[in-house]
Symmetry: C2
Subunit: 435 residues, 2 copies
């Protein structure tokens, strides 16, 4: 097969962009042998063309004028690695509308403006691929779209943010939240402003993309219920340990009876569950479907070269499928409803503080029972005239647990705050612990 020359442009030439260029150069022979195509970076849009750069491109490749990319119809494929919704969104939209295929690493862009971008691609016949927007090098988008198309994936449980997983792993080793976060910042796993990571926003964008692709229905970012890890304390981590569990920030989406529940938040994960072993900055996504039972993909969820490898994989997939229509359209073809958030059932860890006197346990049990919440395990610890109760419940809907907690908080014997954290128990499709 004679080699086909494919001119590629980059929007952005930071760590990821430079790594894409480097991989295409260093692995050009391998890619050509596998696909018959030679991909070359011929242009890259940057803010400052004179800045010193690692793996700098040849003279003339860098430009500060968007028109050099947007206006050049000889560019077959463009990789958007600049980040942000503006001006990346309008650039990508214009490229797709004019028939040029785009690969993007931009989770906020895909999560917020995917519908519009795919509509532009569909009408021009261009492809939009976005593997690098979720969990860097872990090929979960390709696997969902190409390998699991016939398997009705109905559940996703993932650790999709490396920063928070690093912080929680460090807390598990005894650090406070503040110490762990400072350590993550020192090692480059957390930004100077870590809000998007620790607040769950980054994970929410990834979950919106994953569930949209898995369920074939648009899951808007606004549907994802988000709780960050800012409130996780050493006390939670120790309580989890005592129950043979670990605290993890889980991204979870369920499709049941045509309705979608998607949420990001701290959870207690049984140590025998595969996700409990995912440590430090690693990510993992577990997919459950009819024909596959459960497939888990694990790997580094961030990093310049890791993200670039996903960008290159998408470039390669575009050159290998151009002209066939294969996976060119929006991966959305249903219109599912959102499940009311209070309806999602799960076992729960409850921490309740009450006065340590006769009859209190009975009242608590009564409030739980009134909402149909049944207790699986209970440990009561006296502390200075108070009692702390650690409760693991059987499966119960979030709304009922919330109501029971509100009733418990209102009891005259209640002291301190009553908290609830979902529990994810041992692996297994039947007993993943949240139905």
């Amino acid at each position: 097969m004679p080699s086909v020359d494919v001119p590629v442009a980059l929007l952005g030439y930071g760590t990821v962009g430079a790594s894409v260029h480097r991989l295409l150069e260093e692995q050009g022979d391998e890619i050509e042998r596998a696909t018959g195509h030679r991909l070359r970076v011929v242009r890259a849009l940057v803010r400052d063309a004179d800045k010193e750069r690692r793996f700098a491109p040849a003279t003339g490749v860098l430009t500060t004028d968007p028109a050099d990319v947007l206006g050049d119809s000889s560019l077959a494929i463009v990789a958007e690695v600049m980040g942000g919704v503006e001006p990346a969104g309008p650039y990508v939209l214009e490229l797709l509308a004019s028939g040029r295929s785009v690969v993007t690493a931009n989770k906020q862009l895909v999560a917020r403006r995917g519908a519009e971008l795919f509509a532009a691609a569909a009408s021009s016949g261009a492809q939009l691929r976005f593997e690098a927007s979720v969990c860097a090098a872990i090929p979960v988008i390709k696997v969902l779209r190409e390998s699991l198309v016939s398997t009705n994936v109905h559940k996703i449980v993932g650790i999709v943010n490396g920063t928070t997983n690093f912080v929680l792993s460090a807390m598990d080793e005894g650090r406070t939240y503040a110490q762990a976060l400072a350590e993550a910042q020192e090692l480059g796993y957390a930004e100077a402003d870590p809000t998007d990571d620790v607040g769950g926003g980054d994970a929410a964008a990834k979950l919106a993309i994953l569930s949209t692709v898995a369920f074939g229905s648009r899951v808007p970012l606004e549907w994802v219920a988000v709780e960050g890890i800012e409130g996780v304390t050493q006390e939670h981590v120790r309580a989890a340990r005592a129950l043979d569990m670990r605290v993890k920030l889980l991204a979870r989406a369920t499709l049941a009876d045509g309705r979608v529940d998607a949420r990001v938040g701290p959870a207690f994960v049984d140590v025998r569950h595969p996700l409990a072993a995912v440590e430090g900055p690693f990510n993992a996504v577990m997919l459950q479907g009819d024909a596959i039972r459960e497939i888990t993909l694990e790997g580094p969820g961030a990093g310049g070269i890791e993200t670039a490898s996903a960008v290159v994989a998408d470039l390669v997939s575009i050159v290998g499928t151009t002209g066939t229509g294969f996976l060119q359209d929006d991966p959305v073809w249903h219109e599912l409803e959102r499940l009311p958030p209070g309806d999602l059932a799960s076992p729960w860890y409850l921490r309740l503080e009450v006065e340590d006197r006769a009859g209190v346990l009975e009242r608590l049990a009564h409030e739980l029972a009134s909402e149909g919440v049944s207790v699986a395990r209970l440990v009561q610890q006296p502390v200075d005239g108070h009692a702390t109760l650690h409760v693991v419940t059987h499966e119960a809907p979030a709304g009922r647990v919330d109501r029971a907690l509100a009733a418990i908080r209102a009891l005259p014997e209640s002291r301190g705050d009553a908290i609830a954290i979902p529990v994810v128990s041992q692996r297994g499709v039947e007993n993943l612990g949240w139905a």
Copy 2:
């Protein structure tokens, strides 16, 4: 996009074949929405057309005459799900040579005759896809070929045989080898004749395929050093436990300095290593590469519907890439050498039995040191006048450990057999434990 009708034939209509038919029917709408193609099973070659079948095809689909499939040029794609090297091999060869694309679930066929089959496909322009031949629904072949083409995968460590993993998991819970195997047979995880599984042959064929694809060089089945689990006893399992490890049958392949080492055999795996948590009939494959660090894929490694989902994924990929040449050729383009088996370095667990008297430890240590094998941990247990030594070594080449053991066996103080089992320590690209 108007739907394209794709007539598909099956070679074989057992559990996997019937499940392929079922998935294509039940998921036909999803597949059509994703790809614009409607795949229909129009013919299936069987030995007995009158046999009662679950999910039986329409009248006229089953045939006992190979010519009805081989001689029908209207069949665009054929899925080979009959198993065995004969007559499946000649059938697939004839189909590929005449330009019809083939999907196969047949690991022995791909491992033994891949070169010849790919040559036929290349000369006719047909595609040969084989996802289902390795670990059923786990999409490791697609990920290696399409997502990791630019990442120089240089190590594979996997649990690729569900039967042996089930047996070892059951032994870990206290059963003897015979009890565990009987239980596996009862539950349908092991064949009446389990030789191919417990002897490592099944895992070896999968490893030959995985390393051929990952390294882009033919790794013949004969290169894979194979040891089964028949020799694993409760004593080994308990020794592993005492060291915070688990006994697993690992398939491992390494590419270093242009040379390949591939081996299947029992290993001690540190409990903190992700593969230690892979239990029962599940499989997992860990891939290490330059740009990805380490990606692990886990899921069910066997089963009719799981295998069928991989066959369907390959059918979908063929319809989506036909005419582009994408991944149509043999995934082989290097000619790497085999590493001499004794050169592969690893830490080791050694179990040595000696007379319990002064000076023996010194002699053992001398024999190990003479071969450059250094001791990381040592536990000595006296048993009836003998002593059993449990030793974990630092990294040492297999050949040197073998020579040290031979010397130790020859000592007058030696009692019982001295054994060596490789150790896989905690995860991490730097310290996976076998370099």
